[in-house]
Every structure is written in structure tokens, then in C-alpha cells.
């Protein structure tokens, strides 16, 4: 048996919901080897966060542990009372939360919050020593000027900086074990890498064990030594990363790996490698007919010094019948660009042509007519569907709005659309809350296709979905495109998605397009440094 710092045996966690009891973890047994990074991976609902919260005893009030043991350093901590457990937290077990925005107190300075962690742990250090240690710790997580940082407030810092401060807090008492719950999922890719780097540096320096909760296989593969795969509250598979990823024994692990084009034969491929492997057959030549053309578009929100520039001289062309991907991080202006194309925002300067029409000069009625031909699928299917309507009402909305056909014809069309997005016809009477995320996104796609548009704007269509579901939805979109000859304008932060589906790509940063070309050019022969950094992730 290996030297395990943490051993969980037959742990069962339940949540009370009204008079019902849901089992989130069902007799889970895991071992976390000392001094290593162990990744717990799984999709939403797999119980991975519940496991992390059970270990640090941060389960919500309706959570209960009817059975099992959590042995930390050989002691079953479940036997401790809440009060006796508290000294463990922080001092022996550190925690890096998922959401850096919500996890720092907005009314107190960074310095005060760092000092608080020493106070709460009853640190024997003198104030001067504490100050000294805080400064070193901040340097360790990558801050070059920690002195001024101490006097600043959380809102003055970016998400990545806040997350690195939370890393510093988690390691501040030199705990033997640090649990990081999806520490990068709320952050942009490049920023997330900095955070992971800071975790690794702190870990090696202080010789800690890290448990990394994540849904991202590539991240787990690259950062962890051991991996535990959870599926619906049960451990599917566990073992060293290299072994599990190279030779998965469990069906679910295989399905997870298959859904991620980035992990193959036990290692992470670069985006370019994954792209090169991808069998795309013989790509049809791009049409010379242009569906969307932007020429020198500027867009600014607010005025004066407080304003932000969302688009600065954006020019692009989308060939008809192809998929164009606009890639960028949050705040790059990519969503604004899609909204300008849809006529939801007006450009300050430049021309926006969609299907031969100048969007900026259209009257309200003409814009409405254009919308018959340009539809949109939003990022979150949890927010884009009216919870009070049945699927028939949601999918039929454009048909009703444009008064297409008779009511019987519309009902038939809804049935046809459900079939197209591979949902059972009986779902027409269901409401969104009865559906999973992937199913909801299929409904959103069906609605967008109802009036047979020529262009569909896809605004991060899969980023709210689990990996296995992402692959299904992308496949579905591809099939529909081939069948109906649609033009897709895809907005995404994920170059891996782009490599899968797009023929032409533009990379956007701070309102400007930094690189543009065919997918081959951009992925295999990138010239811009920022594009290269994104590709290196």
C-alpha cells in the first residue's frame, strides 16, 4: 500500500431536497498519495465537487454523510466535531475555490485578507514575520510587486490575479494537503495556465499534496500524477494518469477520452497535432460568394475615459456555406462582433453586410425580414429558453412570429425539427427544465433552424456543456450544415473546437483581429505571438 495522506473509504453523501434524498456519492473509496497531484475528473453531476466539499467539510446544509470514513494523516476526521475540525481547515488542509470573484471579500484589502488567514490559524508568527511571509508567498505565485498589491481591493484585480491570491491564501499555513476545486474553469485559458503554474510552484516549494478537481482531461493529464474518474457518484476508474489515459479499463473513461480530441495514447496533443490527426476528408473549396462581410467596424461602449473599445477596425469575410470561427478570450470583443452582425448593436463606424444587405442602414421592418435568414444559438441553453413554454412553443416561436403556414403545418414542422436535432417527438410537450443541458441546446438549435435561415450565428454553442455532450452537439451541427448548406458564424474561446469544425478562422484580441485565414494557416502556420500562445495551451 502506498503512503496515502488522505484515504476515503465507502463515503456516501446525500442531499435532502424537500422530502427526497438524492445520493451524490455512493460508497466512494479513494486514496490520495502523499506529495503528488491527484486529479478528480468527471462531468457535471458526477459528484466531484461534493467529494471535495465533504473532505473539507463545506457541504451545504442539506448535505449529509450517512456512511463512510475520511482518514486524513491516519485519523478519521469525520469523528471530529465541527469545532474540533475547524483547526484542520487552513492549517492542515487548504482550499482553492472555483469562483475567484465571489471568494474574496470586496470590502477589505488584499493584505487584510491574507493576514486574516494567519490570524484564523492562530499563527505563532510575529506581525513582522507574517508580513515577510505574505510578501514571499505573493512573489511565489507570480506577483512582481507584492507591496502595493497589499493595499488594493479585490475589484481592482483581474480574475486571474484574484485566483492567484486565493492560491497564496490556501498555501499560507503550509498545509499538507490543498484541494483545488476547478481552479481555472472561470478563467481564460492563458490566465488559467498562470494559476496552475502558481499552484505547482507553491506545491513543490512547500512539499504539499494537491487534489485537483476538474472536468478538463487535457488539464488533468498535464498537471496530475494520479487520476480518479468519477461517474454519477461512483468511482469508475483510478490510477496513475499515464496508465489510465493510455489504457482505460472502464467504458466511461473511454467515452470521456474519445470526446476529447486532445488526449490520445496517454498524452496531450497540441491543438495542431490534434488538428492534423483529424480526418476531415477532402474539404470542399470555399465559395467565393460572401455571406457576411465586415469592413473597418468600430464599436465603443460608454464615452470618455470610462468607455471601452469593443471593436477596433474589424474586417472579415465569411464565405457562404462554410464555418467561420471567431476566437478570443473574454473581453476580446468577439460577442460584440456577433451582436453587430445580428443587428442587436449598431456599429459606430464601418460597414456590416449580411447576405448582401447593409445591416446599419436597415429600418426595423427590413431588419426583421433579414432575421428570417440569420438566426442565432446562444451560449447557455439554461438561459436562452423561456422556462414557462413547452418545446412546441419554443421551437415554433419563429414560425408563429413570422406567421409561417397553418397551425397544423407549424406543428408538423416542429415535429420535423425535433427529429432533425434527434429528440423524440413526444418531447414537444415538455418544458426546458425537464431536459439536460445538451438536450436544451438541441432545442435552441431547432428553434434557430425553424424558419430555414441561411446563416446561423453560434455564440459559444457548447461551452456550457459537458465534454461528451459537446462532441455530440458539434457533430449534430456539422450534419445539419452539410444537409442544409448553412453558413455558420461561430464565436468561441476554444481553439480545439475551431480545429474540429471551422474552415476559416479569425483570432481576436482587445477589439482587433490579430490573425485571420484558413484553419490550416492559422492552426498550423500561425504568425501572431498571441495566436501561438493560444495554440500552445
Amino acid at each position: 500500500m502506498t503512503d496515502a495522506i488522505l484515504r476515503v473509504t465507502d463515503l456516501t453523501v446525500t442531499y435532502r431536497r424537500d422530502d427526497q434524498v438524492d445520493t451524490a456519492l455512493d460508497a466512494v473509496s479513494i486514496e490520495v498519495p502523499r506529495g503528488k497531484v491527484t486529479a478528480i475528473i468527471g462531468e457535471s453531476g458526477s459528484g466531484k465537487s461534493t467529494l471535495a466539499h465533504a473532505i473539507v467539510r463545506l457541504l451545504p446544509h442539506n448535505g449529509g454523510i450517512p456512511a463512510g470514513a475520511i482518514d486524513f494523516e491516519g485519523e478519521n476526521v469525520l469523528e471530529r466535531s465541527d469545532k474540533a475540525f475547524r483547526p484542520l481547515r487552513g492549517r492542515h488542509v487548504g482550499f482553492v475555490p472555483q469562483d475567484p470573484i465571489a471568494s474574496l471579500n470586496p470590502t477589505r484589502t488584499i493584505g487584510a485578507q491574507l493576514r486574516e488567514s494567519f490570524k484564523l490559524a492562530h499563527s505563532p508568527l510575529s506581525p513582522a514575520a507574517v508580513q515577510e511571509r505574505i510578501l514571499t508567498d505573493l512573489r511565489d505565485v507570480g506577483f512582481t510587486d507584492p507591496e502595493t498589491l497589499l493595499t488594493r481591493y479585490p475589484h481592482e484585480l483581474s480574475g486571474g490575479m484574484r485566483q492567484r491570491i486565493l492560491v497564496a491564501i490556501a498555501f499560507s499555513q503550509r498545509p499538507a494537503l490543498v484541494i483545488a476545486d476547478e481552479p481555472t474553469s472561470a478563467l481564460d485559458v492563458l490566465v488559467g495556465q498562470d494559476v496552475l503554474r502558481s499552484i505547482h510552484e507553491a506545491r513543490t516549494k512547500h512539499d504539499s499534496t494537491v487534489v485537483l478537481i476538474t472536468h478538463d482531461l487535457a488539464l488533468a493529464s498535464r498537471n496530475a500524477d494520479h487520476v480518479i474518474v468519477l461517474q454519477r457518484g461512483v468511482v469508475a476508474e483510478a490510477g496513475p494518469v499515464a496508465e489510465v489515459f493510455a489504457d482505460p479499463q472502464h467504458e466511461y473513461t473511454r467515452a470521456l477520452l474519445a470526446s476529447s480530441a486532445r488526449v490520445a495514447e496517454g498524452r496531450v496533443l497540441s491543438i495542431a497535432e490534434a488538428y492534423a490527426r483529424h480526418d476531415r476528408g477532402t474539404a470542399p473549396a470555399l465559395s467565393t460568394d460572401v455571406a457576411i462581410r465586415l469592413d473597418g467596424v468600430h464599436k465603443r461602449f460608454g464615452s470618455g475615459r470610462g468607455g471601452t473599445v469593443a471593436m477596433e477596425g474589424v474586417s472579415l469575410e465569411v464565405p457562404r456555406g462554410s464555418t467561420f470561427a471567431l476566437v478570443g478570450e473574454s473581453g476580446s470583443g468577439k460577442t460584440t462582433t456577433s451582436r453587430v452582425i445580428l443587428g442587436l448593436e449598431s456599429a459606430d463606424a464601418g460597414t456590416v453586410q449580411v447576405l448582401g444587405q447593409d445591416v446599419g442602414s436597415l429600418k426595423r421592418k427590413q431588419l426583421r425580414d433579414l432575421r428570417r435568414r440569420v438566426q442565432v444559438v446562444y451560449q447557455s441553453p439554461f438561459e436562452s429558453l423561456n422556462p414557462r413554454l413547452s418545446l412546441r412553443g419554443i421551437i415554433g416561436e419563429p414560425l408563429d412570429a413570422f406567421k409561417v403556414g397553418t397551425p397544423t403545418e407549424r406543428a408538423a414542422r416542429v415535429a420535423e425539427l425535433l427529429e432533425l436535432v434527434q429528440l423524440p417527438a413526444a418531447y414537444a410537450e415538455r418544458r426546458p427544465r425537464e431536459l439536460s443541458g445538451g438536450q436544451r441546446q438541441r432545442v435552441a438549435i431547432a428553434r434557430a433552424l425553424a424558419i430555414q435561415p441561411e446563416v446561423v450565428v453560434l455564440d459559444e454553442p457548447v461551452s456550457a456543456l459537458d465534454a461528451t455532450v459537446q462532441a455530440q452537439v458539434l457533430d449534430l451541427l456539422g450534419e445539419i450544415q452539410r444537409e442544409l448548406g448553412l453558413t455558420y458564424f461561430l464565436v468561441t474561446h476554444d481553439l480545439a473546437v475551431v480545429a474540429d469544425v471551422a474552415q476559416t478562422v479569425a483570432v481576436m484580441r482587445r477589439g482587433r483581429i490579430v490573425e485571420q485565414g484558413t484553419t490550416d494557416q492559422v492552426i498550423l502556420r500561425a504568425e501572431d505571438t498571441y495566436t501561438k500562445a493560444l495554440l500552445a495551451v
Binding site: 457535471s44 432575421r371 423561456n386
Partner: protein
Amino acid sequence: MTDTLLPDTPVGVGAAKTGSGPVAAAVARAAEPPRRRRRRLKEIHVHLLLLAALVVIAVFPTLVATHDPFELDGIPFTSPNGTHFFGTDEIGRDLYSRVVHGLQISLFSATLAVVVALVLGSVVGILSGLRPGSWLDRVLGVGTEAVMAVPAVLLALAVITTYGRGAFVAAIAIGLGEATGFARLVRGVVIQSSTFTFVEAARTCGAGPIRTITRHIVPNVFHPVLSYTALQFGLALLAIGSLSYLGFGEAPPSPEWGVLIAGGQKYLAHAWWVAIIPGLALTAVVVLLNRIAYLLQEDH
């Protein structure tokens, strides 16, 4: 005061937003409502049934009244007994029958007040909420605030002195005052619902403004407004009673509850029931309405 009544939780989508994970479990939950929800629904039903009974009595008071509310058919100040359930008043009228007939006046004028408030407030609220910050929103906002700055009773007194006393005028006056609260509430929820992605999705689907409002915004506004309406209904009842009590609403010999309380208070020392029983009736109805408002809000 009305600002604090604005719901601080997102309307509509809140429940729908939670995880996509164990779908089977979620579906099972949606199909079979848990016991607590059933209990709450049952309690709402009981309360609504009570309210319905009151409405029936208000429409057909003679069904349950035992005497003519205006006829002097008993010995003055008879205490409650078998023939006169609530006793008689200072000139021998049956108090029970007067309270029953008074319910009609109270309930009808409160309904009128709330309808005025709801219609006026919703129109103002929707108009200003659709384009927050527009000149229309600003004009309506200033107007609402101006009305709010005047105490409700003072406003009612001003309307009554201009248009004459009586339950009808009092109800309109109260309704005008209450409309401001509705306007604020509706404006808030409309602004909030407009930020829902599905409202924008409706627009990109080609839905016009009327369709967007009726299909996507109003159903999500409906719940908080319904609950607020029940609350305001109780307040309107109280306000109308107060105006009558002060002598600005109904006048004797009307059996309006405020009038009954005002008339009976002189005799509190030796005939408590003349003032206390109508007072209890008013309290009971207001509590019932408040409870309904609370349950509706909980249900949401």
C-alpha cells in the same frame, strides 16, 4: 416602503438554471412534487377557498344575513346570543347582518382600488421598464415619485374633498396612491426580465414587441405582481376602512366596517362587541389576504 417589496431574487429562470447533471433525478423531481410543496399548495387552496366564500357572501349577503341591516328589530345593546349572533348596536340593529352587508362594501371598494392600482401601475411600469432611461421612463419616474411624496391618506383626502365622499371615490383615491407601488414593482421586473437571454432570443426569432411582452415578459412578471396584489388588497381594505372611520368614506347608516367601528367606539366600555367585532372581521380578512400574498410568494 414599496421599494423593499421588490423581489430580490431573479424571476423565472432561477430554478431552471441549476445543473444539467443527474437528469433522471431532476425529471423525477419535476414529475412528482415533494410533500412540502404539496402542503404549501394545499394551504393556498384552503386560503383561496376561504376568499372565494367571502366573495360569494359579498355578492349575495342575504344568503347568510339573518336580519335587514337597517331595520331596528332588537333591543339596543343586546349582547351576542342565538338570534343576534354578534349582538345589536346602539339602536337595536342586528350587528351580524350589518357586518355581512358591510363586507360587500369593503370588498368591492377594495377590489376597485386594487384594479385601478394594478391597471394604472402596470401600464406605467411596462412603459417605463421597456426602455429604462428613456425620456418616457424619466417623466413617468418623476410623476411616480411626486405621487409617492404625498402621504397616501392626504392624497385620498384631496381627491375626496374634490369629488365628494363615498366608498367609490375613496376606492379610486386609494387606488391612485397604490398605483405607484405597482408601477415601481412592474418596472423592476420588466427590466429584469428584459435581460433574460430568452427575451433577446425571441427578438432575434422575429417576435415583435407586443409578442415579446405578452409571451415572454408578462408571464414572468405575473407571479410577483400577483403576490403584491394580494398584499395591496389587504392594505386597500384597511385604508378604505380608515377613511370611513375618519368620516371621509361611507357615512352612517351605511354598514361599512370603518363606519361600524367609529360608531361603536363610544360604547366600548359597556358594549364592546359593537366596535370590536367589525374590527376583528376587518383584521381577519386582511390577515387572510396577507397570508395568501405570502404563500404565493413562497410558491414562486
